[in-house]
């Protein structure tokens, strides 16, 4: 039995800017099928990916927020945002589609320190 590694996926992009968020989310779903414990951190502009009321069809794109909502069905419930990053866009946790834990910016380093593998797309 291989010991379980804790995986952190860091998101850094705003919605619609690149396929990185989609690609990172796909990693999360795949890893959960392999029982790897996955946490997601939405850094900076990536908090906007979680913003409610997006209308991706206006840009003829698939709705990534729908797939983000599926995380819970994959037993991925460890989602994190940084307080200061929410504040920058005048967002509160109520504006987000997912129930996220918020972290103080000063706690970021020790948070990342605890993981075994980090993928930062």
């Amino acid at each position: 039995m291989v010991t379980q590694k804790k995986l952190l996926l860091i998101f850094r992009n705003p919605p619609f800017s690149s396929s990185a968020n989609r690609d990172n989310l796909d990693i999360a779903l795949a890893c959960s099928a392999f029982d790897i414990p996955v946490s997601l951190l939405f850094l900076n502009d990536a908090v906007l990916q979680l913003h409610k009321n997006q209308q991706s069809h206006l840009l003829e794109q698939k709705d990534l927020t729908k797939t983000l909502n599926a995380l819970e069905m994959y037993d991925i419930d460890q989602c994190y945002v940084i307080d200061e990053h929410l504040a920058r866009y005048q967002l509160s946790k109520d504006d987000l589609i997912l129930n996220c834990h918020s972290l103080a910016r000063e706690k970021l380093a020790s948070f990342i320190h605890d993981f075994d593998v980090v993928i930062n797309l």
Binding site: I10, R12, L43, N44, R105, L108, A109, S110, I112, H113, F115, D116, V117, V118, N120
Partner: protein, 99 residues
């Protein structure tokens, strides 16, 4: 072997948000290695931004030589060759890439 993280950064310091996020992520005893365009950060006064932290900053020799900036590298930076970069990845428990 340490329990700390090696941060691998490959963009020039003009990507200020990337550097800020990387700085926010630095834990005590972490290391940072500048590769590709990030080796420019190893020049002059730029490494100052890392001086508040108890970290070691490295820069990749091949990328430095390729850019012809070997005379400009700050004394605060440890220059490592390709083999030593691999060794660092073994020494630190994990890596986080910033790009």
């Amino acid at each position: 072997m340490t329990s700390s993280t090696l941060h691998i950064i490959n963009k020039a310091a003009s990507n200020s948000q990337l550097y800020r996020d990387c700085l926010d992520s630095l834990h005590d005893d972490d290391g940072v290695i500048f590769i590709e365009s990030a080796v420019y950060t190893a020049c002059g006064a730029e490494p100052e931004m890392f001086s508040n932290f108890n970290i070691t900053a490295y820069a990749l020799k091949t990328d430095i030589l390729a850019r012809g900036i070997q005379d400009k590298i700050s004394e605060k930076i440890t220059v490592v060759d390709d083999g030593e970069f691999v060794e660092l990845c073994c020494l630190y428990k994990k890596s986080v890439s910033w790009f």
